[in-house]
């Protein structure tokens, strides 16, 4: 770790673990843990990603999309579910459509722009919730796998091998055969299936970190295993989790859209960008804008997450630009 630690007194040697730069090295272990509150590494990575032009663009784009989703009730020009049957398949106004619809209407006469704004809500929600849940599960299992390397670790990695052979979409489709279609089964499967990428990366870091001096020191001071895992190991392996989180959110949103596109995900009257595609593709001939508009919104979401993810990854580890993004989340 060559990161600067803002808590370190001036003149601290670069490369020294943050935990050793305590004002009072003889204090009880709990005091030491409390002093090291500065998220130095994390802040540094986020800062670097922000200063990367692509990264900044990604952050701003994502902020814009989230804002649009949150403000949907106020900025939508129309009720997204209201069907104006006299205005079905109206072209966008800039293509000469009547009625002043900015992005036209779909085959049921619903305003496409309003539906995209509302559709963003569910799509972003699914992606962010599923990515967060799978990150938490992956973090937990990864730490356990790295700590109990030879027993639980081996077992979990074999499980990850098995899971790798079954793509997301296949499990998602198969699960809806058992549970019936709907948002909940999709959310569950996306959250559960995503742990492997995190766990593999984290288990590797943990197996290195657990041999480091500060862990031995904590152990010597009488810290219990759960305490070491939570207070000493977790903070030091958190950075890759953030990187993976942002790249997986886009993938998960696409997975949800794909399943909704087949009618296996979100069910009417709820709708996501994916289920809008499903509605729109039936009338592709009459109103292509009802497909292209939600599709473009999806593209923007994925681009934003990919840009953030790439910038974070470059900031976290400059040489890792060669690694494929999320090989296991397919």
């Amino acid at each position: 770790m060559s990161s600067e630690n803002p808590a370190a007194p001036t003149g601290a040697t670069a490369g020294m673990p943050a935990t050793t730069t305590q004002p009072d090295p003889w204090g009880p272990a709990s005091d030491q843990a409390r002093v090291v509150k500065t998220p130095g590494r994390m802040r540094e990575i986020l800062g670097k990603a922000w200063h990367n032009p692509g990264g900044r663009f990604g952050f701003l784009l994502l902020a814009l999309l989230v804002l649009a989703a949150v403000l949907a009730p106020w900025i939508s020009p129309a009720d997204p579910t209201k069907q104006v049957l006299s205005d079905t398949d109206t072209a966008p106004m800039w293509l000469g459509g009547e009625g002043g619809y900015l992005l036209g209407t779909d085959s049921l006469g619903r305003d496409v722009l309003s539906r995209v704004l509302y559709g963003l809500r569910l799509s972003l929600f699914v992606g962010i919730v599923a990515a967060t849940l799978s990150a938490m599960l992956g973090l937990l299992l990864g730490i356990l796998a790295g700590w109990y390397e030879s027993t639980l670790g081996k077992l979990l990695m074999r499980l990850a091998d098995i899971q790798f052979a079954v793509p997301f979409v296949a499990v998602g489709i198969a699960l809806t055969a058992v549970l019936g279609p709907g948002l909940t089964p999709v959310l569950v499967i996306l959250s559960v299936w995503g742990w492997t990428t995190y766990a593999r990366t984290i288990a590797n870091s943990v197996s290195q970190v657990k041999r480091s001096d500060f862990v031995t020191a904590a152990r010597t001071l009488g810290a219990s295993t759960p305490r070491i895992m939570l207070r000493h190991i977790t903070p030091s392996v958190l950075a890759p989790v953030v990187v993976l989180w942002s790249t997986s959110a886009g993938v998960l949103i696409l997975a949800e859209s794909g399943l909704s596109l087949l009618g296996l995900g979100v069910q009417a009257p709820d709708f996501s960008l994916g289920s809008m595609l499903s509605d729109g593709q039936v009338a592709l001939r009459l109103s292509w804008w009802a497909v292209v508009a939600p599709g473009t919104a999806l593209l923007l979401i994925v681009l934003a997450f990919n840009m953030i993810g790439d910038a974070l990854r470059d900031a976290f580890n400059p040489s890792s630009a060669l690694e494929p993004r999320n090989p296991e989340l397919v």
Partner: protein
């Protein structure tokens, strides 16, 4: 000797995958509902469900049922489909060919294109053309594959009328799905190729070859490319599973009679034996392809041969 051991390990992995997927599907059906209901035709009354329970031995203890499931998996006996009345295994293997007809050409095309574009971008990493190519690949990488499919249908089938929109017979119906999968695979792969090649261009053997005064072409193809190749080949296995995932959705969207369409139809008709067989075939397919890729990497990369598996 080493290779033999490696292959034995991989065979063991394949068996684990078979066992794992079967176990997963077994417990999934037991944990989330009554398998007798699930394995009966959708409109079945209580006496039919009871008959199914007895016929399939679902009144037996769980451990006996589990054993029976394992036996039927390894003997490829998945029973008959509720929807078509056909033998499940026969109907699944029948759809395997059409799906592979899409995936394999796409994978090869994507690898070929990505190899050329990635190499070009790596050699021109500083100038505008190389950057422009990678910018395009980045955006292409973000476009959802189903959107690509819908836009291609819109432009080439509906507006121009060159290709059939959905289904259709003959090789012309393959054009859109193969184009979609190729675009999807090529975007990621070309970025990766560029990265790997840039990395290998700065490595010792390549610097050595350059300083010996070898022509640029020889340095590139004899020294840099072989260094960059193994991880890319391994990634092809991952990409294969990626493309299969996309195909499952694409086939229904484009009404193409392959494994994906069969799976989705089976789900809609609650034809559970077919669902089970499809998932199993997909898992085996992905594992086998990855084993093949790993083996190729092992044969190509002498550094891996010295290590014991």
């Amino acid at each position: 000797m080493n290779l033999l051991r490696f292959l034995m390990w991989k065979l063991l992995l394949l068996l684990t995958v078979l066992l794992g997927v079967t176990t997963l599907m077994f417990f999934l059906t037991r944990a989330t509902g009554d398998p007798a209901v699930l394995l009966s035709p959708p409109e079945a009354g209580p006496e039919v469900i009871e008959a199914t329970r007895v016929r399939l031995g679902l009144d037996q203890p769980l451990i006996v049922q589990y054993w029976d499931t394992l036996v039927s998996t390894f003997t490829l006996d998945f029973g008959t489909s509720f929807a078509s009345g056909q033998n499940v295994w026969a109907s699944v293997t029948e759809r395997l060919g059409p799906s592979l007809t899409l995936v394999i050409p796409s994978l090869l095309l994507a690898a070929l294109l990505a190899g050329m574009i990635g190499t070009y971008a790596a050699l021109h990493q500083a100038d505008a053309r190389g950057r422009l190519l990678m910018g395009a690949a980045f955006i292409l990488d973000g476009i959802p594959y189903f959107l690509v499919a819908l836009v291609l249908v819109l432009v080439f089938a509906i507006q121009l009328g060159w290709l059939p929109a959905t289904g259709g017979d003959g090789s012309i119906s393959l054009v859109i799905p193969i184009a979609v999968l190729t675009i999807q695979g090529f975007a990621t792969l070309s970025r990766l190729t560029r990265g790997q090649l840039i990395d290998s261009l700065s490595q010792g053997p390549v610097t050595m070859a350059k300083s010996k005064g070898l022509p640029a072409r020889t340095v590139l193809f004899r020294h840099a490319v072989p260094l960059a190749l193994p991880p890319l080949i391994a990634y092809l296995g991952i990409l294969f599973s990626f493309l299969i995932g996309s195909l499952l959705i694409l086939e229904s969207l484009l009404n193409y009679a392959g494994l994906g369409q069969l799976l989705v139809r089976a789900v809609q008709q609650r034809d559970f034996p077919t669902v089970q067989a499809c998932v199993l075939v997909i898992a085996v397919l992905i594992t086998v392809v990855n084993i093949v890729m790993d083996t190729i990497v092992r044969l190509l990369d002498p550094r891996l041969r010295t290590k014991v598996a």
